[in-house]
């Protein structure tokens, strides 16, 4: 990037809340049901229906407010945002406008080098999602209203970010929070977490903001980074060429790796916001706030610190393990069954995460139970199998959460720790390889590895490597 310039980025994140029922009616929020099956007169916008607020929505938003150090307002007000669209049955969206429920918060992001930065949160408010329009054929649009009225929480940041990297770190943190709080699954690809960005460029040292553009439709972390980078370069090029930036909304196209302006017609909305007369203002009492606060789980930063102090894990491990709550939960579950904390951390960070990646599944769908992984780790710890053998056992366990002890028995992989048995094998090897024995005695230390290898091969890897080492050393050195 041209170093004359400074980038200013603010993000608006929409998080679909994981309540069982919709924001203003009793319909299920379950994803994947047949089109127009999660509906009732209220979310269908039939004449005469009225919204009734789902209290859980307020509670969930309060949790996010606590996590992001916001002020939870005692009184907040719903408003109507008026516009026509086929997937908006009422002709307006219920949202919060002048008086949102949370304001004036912040989160801290941490860079790779360990330095930190505080990013401001302007507000968090509640609104309802729209349905989905499916443009089926040339002359037909089909509407699925299932998503209509599903609660959304919109988190609006201050324009505090100065690079795409900061934006991604911010977004990562938001995702981490909503997952830790259990209020949103944080899936950007499926649209349960959506992000729009406001972005502008100015000369370094300038205090006034430049003209901003808004970018929408970035449905993955990678796309956010790419789209922002693209927009920064586009704006700088224009400024360098002396062209004025036009305030507009752009849509990111992940296939073409570029953004294009939204048709201005779609943008020219006057939403005619006014207070929703069908709902009373939301009053959050001190006792309700206290009640909600009790439901706050341990947040990632604290958990990471605890992993370092309580389990003596390196910061690197603690970072990776606490990145996602389900992974951290899994790790904590595993160490209920084993005290080998570092080994457990290695396995979760290594083989487990790698497998999840390969299978493209979530840890909650992972087949090996924490108990069985703990068992495997204990089997290494007590010398029943070597770490190397364990790597062979692991893939077999994937198949239907197989007990590692059974795998080991079936494949006859129990480590040979019987000294006399190993001694017998070693004696034969030494006898058969006189030349190498002599080389060792002449001081060729390298040959030692040759004997270890031979022994392991002879035992199909089952010999306890430590015992093999000890016996070999004492036998060979005894010949000196």
């Amino acid at each position: 990037m041209n170093s004359k310039y400074e980038v200013v980025i603010g993000l608006e994140v929409h998080a679909q809340l994981l309540t069982e029922t919709k924001a203003f009616c009793g319909c299920s929020t379950k994803f994947g049901n047949p089109p127009n099956s999660n509906v009732c007169p209220v979310c269908l916008g039939q004449p005469g229906v009225l919204p009734v607020l789902n209290k859980k929505v307020i509670e969930y938003t309060m949790l996010m407010g606590f996590a992001t150090n916001c002020k939870i307002k005692e009184r907040s007000v719903f408003a109507r945002k008026n516009y026509f669209y086929p997937d908006m049955p009422k002709g307006y969206q219920i949202t919060q406008y002048e008086e949102p429920i949370c304001e004036h918060g912040y989160i801290d992001i941490e860079f790779k080098d360990g330095s930190k930065k505080r990013l401001g949160i302007t507000r968090i408010h509640i609104e309802e999602d729209a349905g989905k329009s499916i443009h089926d054929q040339a002359y037909e649009t089909l509407v699925d209203v299932n998503r209509c009225g599903v609660p959304l929480m919109e988190i609006v940041s201050e324009p505090d970010m100065r690079s795409p990297e900061e934006a991604v770190l911010y977004l990562t943190k938001i995702k981490q929070f909503v997952q830790y709080l259990g209020i949103c699954d944080g899936n950007m690809e499926e649209g349960s977490l959506r992000c729009d960005a406001n972005i502008s460029i100015r000369l370094k040292g300038e205090t006034k903001l430049g003209t901003k553009t808004e970018i929408k439709n970035m449905n993955s972390f990678k796309n956010v980074e790419k789209a922002l980078q693209y927009e920064i370069e586009r704006q700088i090029d224009l400024i360098e060429d002396g062209v004025k930036i036009v305030q507009e909304t752009l849509l990111w196209d992940a296939d073409l790796n570029m953004s294009a302006p939204m048709r201005s017609k779609e943008e020219a909305h006057d939403y005619r916001y006014f207070p929703e007369p069908d709902l009373m203002p939301v009053i959050v009492s001190e006792s309700w706030k206290a009640e909600a606060k009790k439901k706050m789980p341990e947040l990632p930063d604290l958990r990471r610190e605890r992993f370092i102090t309580e389990f003596s894990l390196p910061k690197y491990d603690a970072d990776i393990l606490t990145q996602s709550k389900p992974v951290a939960d899994y790790f904590e579950e595993v160490i209920k069954y084993t005290k080998e904390y570092k080994t457990a951390s290695n396995w979760v960070m290594g083989d487990v995460l790698k497998t999840l990646n390969e299978l493209k599944i979530d840890i909650t769908e992972f087949s090996i139970s924490a108990e069985n992984l703990g068992k495997l780790i204990n089997l290494i710890g007590n010398g029943t199998i070597s770490g190397k053998i364990a790597k062979e056992v692991f893939p077999d366990m994937l198949e239907g959460n197989k007990d590692p002890e059974i795998v080991i028995k079936e494949k006859n992989l129990v480590q040979i720790s019987d000294t006399s048995a190993i001694e017998k094998i070693i004696d034969e090897i030494l006898k058969a390889n006189e030349k190498e024995v002599n080389e060792y005695l002449e001081g060729k230390e390298k040959v030692f590895g040759f004997f270890v290898g031979k022994t392991m091969r002879e035992t199909k890897g089952k010999a306890n490597p430590k015992i093999v080492n000890d016996i070999l050393r004492s036998k060979l050195d005894g010949l000196k």
Partner: protein, 478 residues
């Protein structure tokens, strides 16, 4: 003619066997048929009503009947009844069938009232003459050349012409009280939030209330008692205890202090109406009621405030009628925008379109503060006037309308003149207070004159007790 003066008498006769409910319903059905030209009904449920009559007759026989057993009720065509049309007197909903039942109507049914049909009204309850209806104008039964008032004109006429026992209307700015006064029946608008709005097709959400038309105060009290109360489906309904109105009605232990606001008796008020009300007030005074003059200083802002706020809410409430999911869709709908524009242009009537445009305008960027916000402030001032007044008095007496029922077509080309007719009724909706129109006299021409009584929020009992006193002690000699 029916031979009972209120529902209690009717129920007695039904119990004793002196009256057959089926015959009674058949009688109303034939009266509806005979009076077709009044155009009071949009839909008549003959079979449904007769079926209900049979069931309820059985319950009465077994002594398992509800409070309103056998009361034959007509409901305004903006209230939902499952599997029956809710057209709101609009072309845009002409073929719409409701998919659920409104809370107020369900409560009537649960107490064994019989729903006989849905009454004509101004389209989406917007109007003061019942001339804005896709089903045609409703005629005043007293003088067929004249309007019955609106918007609940059909409901008022259904009761006045003896086509049912009681009816439900809705009142957003006088739509129960004004037609009641034009047709010579009782019309009660409860406190806002007293009766659930669930299933009432919204015109202006923060103004709309549902209430009864009746021949007697007793019946109004009974119906109010049944339809009132907190409803989980309406967040704006309040959890305030519902008194046993019908039982307490007769017990006027103290004579109330009544305020007469001078702003309501000034220029523009028809002399005959003025005199009729003054007569009643004088009689109340001689009966022991204390009469005092009061001021409602912000009264002059009521019409402007009312029309800004209600049209704003209406413009949003009526957005759902877009041709996409239900109701009328224009044949000329090649694109999405065409579908919206043409369905709404062809489906809505003139007055509804006028109000949607007004409302859209006052909410628009750049005008919101000057209109909507300012009107919200004015609304608070107007409410404040009433709060202050009710610190000093129990009730306020005022006219329900500045004029007698006017001729059909007389004002329909002059919307402003029509709006000014709401001058004495909109304030109650702005303040959220209850009001009743009591039929107190007839003009020289024989046209009905209504007197409006207003009370503080949730003081319906005071309204009913006083109306009952007027009905039984003051008017019985007339």
């Amino acid at each position: 003619m029916v031979n009972y003066k209120n529902h209690s008498e009717k129920l007695q006769k039904l119990k004793s066997g002196e009256l057959s409910l089926e015959d009674n319903v058949k009688f109303f059905l034939s009266e509806i048929d005979k009076n077709k030209k009044l155009n009071a009904f949009n839909f008549v449920f003959s079979d449904f009503a007769l079926e209900q009559a049979k069931t309820v007759q059985g319950k009465i026989k077994n002594n398992t009947n509800g409070k309103l057993a056998g009361m034959v009720v007509a409901i305004k065509d903006v209230l939902s009844l499952k599997d029956k049309p809710t057209a709101c007197s609009s072309k845009i909903l002409k073929d719409y069938i409701a998919v659920y039942t409104s809370t107020a109507v369900q409560k009537l049914i649960d107490e064994d009232a019989i729903i006989i049909g849905k009454t004509n009204c101004d389209e989406f309850a917007m109007g003061s003459s019942n001339e804005n209806s896709a089903f045609g104008a409703v005629l005043n039964p007293v003088d067929n050349q004249r309007v019955p008032g609106g918007s609940s004109g059909g409901s008022a006429v259904a009761v006045a012409a003896g086509l049912c026992d009681v009816s439900l209307g809705t009142d957003t700015g006088g739509s129960i009280r004004q037609p009641a006064s034009f047709c010579g029946v009782y019309g009660l608008k409860p406190t806002y939030s007293r009766v659930s709005r669930y299933g009432l097709t919204a015109f202006a959400s923060s103004f709309d209330s549902i209430g009864p038309f009746s021949h007697s105060v007793e019946d109004a009290a009974k119906v109010l008692e049944v339809i009132s109360g907190k409803d989980e489906k309406d967040s704006t309904s309040l959890n305030v205890e519902v008194p046993n109105y019908s039982a307490e009605l007769t017990n006027i232990d103290k004579k109330y202090k009544i305020g007469i606001p001078k702003e309501y008796f000034g220029e523009g008020l028809n002399e005959e109406i003025k005199k009729a009300i003054e007569d009643v007030v004088a009689k109340l005074k001689s009966s022991g009621f204390e009469i005092v003059d009061i001021n409602l200083p912000h009264n002059e802002y009521t019409i402007a405030t009312y029309y800004i706020l209600t049209t704003a809410e209406a413009s949003s409430n009526l957005a759902r009628y877009d041709g996409a999911r239900y109701g009328f869709r224009s044949n000329d709908a090649a694109t999405l925008l065409d579908m919206y524009n043409n369905s709404r242009s062809e489906g809505f009537g003139k007055e509804v379109k006028r109000r949607i445009m007004l409302g859209t305008y006052v909410l628009s960027a750049g005008y919101y503060d000057a209109y909507y916000k300012k009107a919200q402030k004015a609304r608070r001032l107007i409410k404040n006037d009433f709060d202050l007044a009710f610190k000093n008095v129990d009730l306020i007496i005022a006219p329900a309308s500045p004029t007698l029922p006017f001729k059909i077509g007389e004002k329909s080309e002059d919307p402003l003149e029509m709006y000014l007719g709401d001058i004495y009724t909109t304030s109650a909706n702005l303040a959220g207070i209850p009001g009743i129109s009591v039929p107190v006299a007839n003009s020289e021409e024989g046209l009905p004159i209504g007197m409006q009584i207003l009370a503080n929020q949730f003081d319906e009992l005071k309204l009913l007790k006083t109306s009952y006193f007027i009905q039984n002690e003051i008017l019985k000699n007339n």
